[in-house]
Amino acid sequence: MQHEDCALELQNLERHFAHGRVRAVDGVSLTVEPGEILSILGPSGCGKTTLMRMIAGLEVPTSGQIRIHGRDVSSLAPHERNVGLVFQSLAVFPHMNVEKNVGFGLRMRKLSAAAIKSKVDTVLDLVQLPPDQFASRWPSELSGGQLQRVALARTLVTEPALVLFDEPMAALDRRLRDYMAIELRAIQKQLGIAAVYVTHDQETASTMSDRIAVMNSGRVVQVGPPPEIYNRPANRFVAEFLGDTNVLTIARLHERSGVAQQVEVEAGQRLAVSADDHLAGGQMVLFRPGQTKVFTDDPGGAMQAVLTSVSFNGGLYHWMMRLADGTPLLAQSTRDDLGGVSSGQPIWVSVDHEQTHVVEQ
């Protein structure tokens, strides 16, 4: 099936190294809608960079197809694809000033000097580098954030069919990165260019994107909007990659009652999970620390645990605890629910069955 209206469509894309022994990208199929930002999120070595380089034409796929706005570009050279790429190292040309850097793509497209000047000025305004101040500056005179904007402007000014971002903000500090992520999204939405943002940073991915594709070992594990990926992870890898997660292994189904079903976890204690989850052997229950409630007395139906540590940061209390078999759990809350309890003392922990999520092991 072909989608003529997709900005980008990958069909079963593969890239092997070392004569097929290493499958850096192992059968990836993805689509990006026009005007959409899709983040490819995964740990280093998961194949996300190789995937992105294949889309740009810098790496040749072993098999599979790449379509941009319905056109098969799989066999085209990078300069024939009209795909923009903002590099991790930014790759701002050191021997050209800002104006020459940004105008490079337009010169390659043989636009007139006047047209280049006007387009460069417009895009420099867009990325908040006023041309009268910055056009004649050299890269060595710019800060990290300003270089970032030059690299972005240089790519956007050529009006590419698709923009790829290779963690271009990795070198920036946290605060600037968050700010740039929001600004980048605003610019992208304003121009309506489809974008693929490759990163290992789940916070940036969540802030930036309409959808996230989580990659692991060369495969796409799950694709969806950030809340869906966070709240309904497809497996333990996705759950753990998107933030702290409590994981309990299900030993057996205990009983089923209306909207919830009781399971017994390996620690020997009982937990209610949503009745929507289909229970079979060898599954796990996942739930987020923020959804985990702690009590000083048994409120009924809670699991008993031993408090191991308490800390406070980022406006949240963090309680580390262990179940009877040693399984660690983490709970977080803005309120000090365990005031007065010290490490080593028994506490009770529960989670609403609506907030649990059962996945295959």
Binding site: A56, G57, L58, A77, P78, H79, R81, N82, V83, G84, L85, F87, Q88, S89, A91, F93, P94, H95, F104, G105, M108, R109, W138, S140, E141, R154, T155, T158
Partner: protein, 277 residues
């Protein structure tokens, strides 16, 4: 404490005096040549009893006077200049693309080629001279000036390539990839991005090859002909037959000429490179 300071003072003195000694050792022959070129005497007496420009006048006469066609000094100078220029051009044409291939691409035998590049530097020039002479004679073709140019390209290419490869290794491959994603063809990328960034490396390679070729003697000695008579051979023959202090004047002029070229290229590349910051 005093002992330690004294010791450090001694070490500093030792380093300074040995440096001065080495510099003197290197510069002494050149200084002697320059001083001798200003002698007023017709003998090789050192230090000169009196100073004059008479031997420079003599050289001027050898180059432009009525005996010029007989001495062939100017002709030899031009021959050396053309050989040096062509050798430098040949080394650029072969060396820059070859360096690019060696730095950017992985292929079988790359390591072996890199090793081979160092070989001509340790290879005895006399042996290479004999080998080339045999080849040229066996071919029965008159290569004219090219037989020395080709010989110089062979021995000086490694100097060119070492400079280019060092410069290329400092160019981030992402810069080239960025140019390509912005719509530059591979050839355009090379001329717009790679060449400007390795310019100073290429220029110093050209300079090195030019100066080395201009002064080269051993290979030229095997390969010169009556029509292709480089300055180094001319100087050698003059000093063998009629040793007049004019030889010193010519040698001193050669030294000034080499120094001038180095200073000019350095100024040009240095200024251009300044834009890179």
């Amino acid at each position: 404490m005093a002992n330690a300071i004294g010791r450090r003072g001694f070490e500093a003195m030792l380093i300074r005096s040995s440096t001065i000694f080495l510099m003197a050792l290197i510069l002494l022959p050149i200084i002697v040549v320059v001083i001798m070129s200003f002698t007023a005497s017709t003998t090789l007496e050192f230090p000169p009893p009196a100073l004059s420009f008479r031997w420079y006048a003599d050289v001027w006469d050898m180059a432009t006077g009525e005996n010029a066609s007989f001495t062939r000094l100017l002709e030899s100078f031009w021959v050396s200049l053309i050989i040096a220029g062509l050798s430098a051009l040949g080394c650029v044409a072969a060396g820059v693309p070859a360096s690019y291939a060696l730095v950017r691409y992985k292929f079988a035998g790359r390591a072996a080629i890199e090793e081979l590049l160092g070989l001509p530097i340790v290879f005895p020039a006399v042996v290479l001279g004999i080998a080339l002479l045999i080849l040229v004679s066996a071919s029965g073709i008159d290569f004219g000036i090219w037989q020395i140019v080709i010989a110089h390209c062979i021995i000086f290419l490694p100097f060119m390539m070492r400079n280019c490869m060092t410069a290329l290794k400092s160019v981030d491959p992402a810069l080239e990839e960025a140019a390509k994603t912005l719509g530059a063809s591979p050839l355009r990328t090379f001329f717009e991005i790679v060449l400007p960034l390795i310019r100073s490396g290429v220029a110093s390679g050209v300079l090195l090859v030019f100066v080395l070729s201009f002064n080269e003697f051993t290979l030229s000695y095997f390969l010169y002909t009556v029509d292709v008579f480089p300055l180094s051979i001319w100087l050698f023959q003059q000093s063998n037959t009629s040793f007049s202090p004019a030889i010193f004047a010519i040698s001193a002029l050669t030294i000034f000429f080499n120094a001038a070229i180095i200073l000019i290229v350095d100024a040009l590349v240095g200024r251009g490179g300044g834009a890179l910051r």
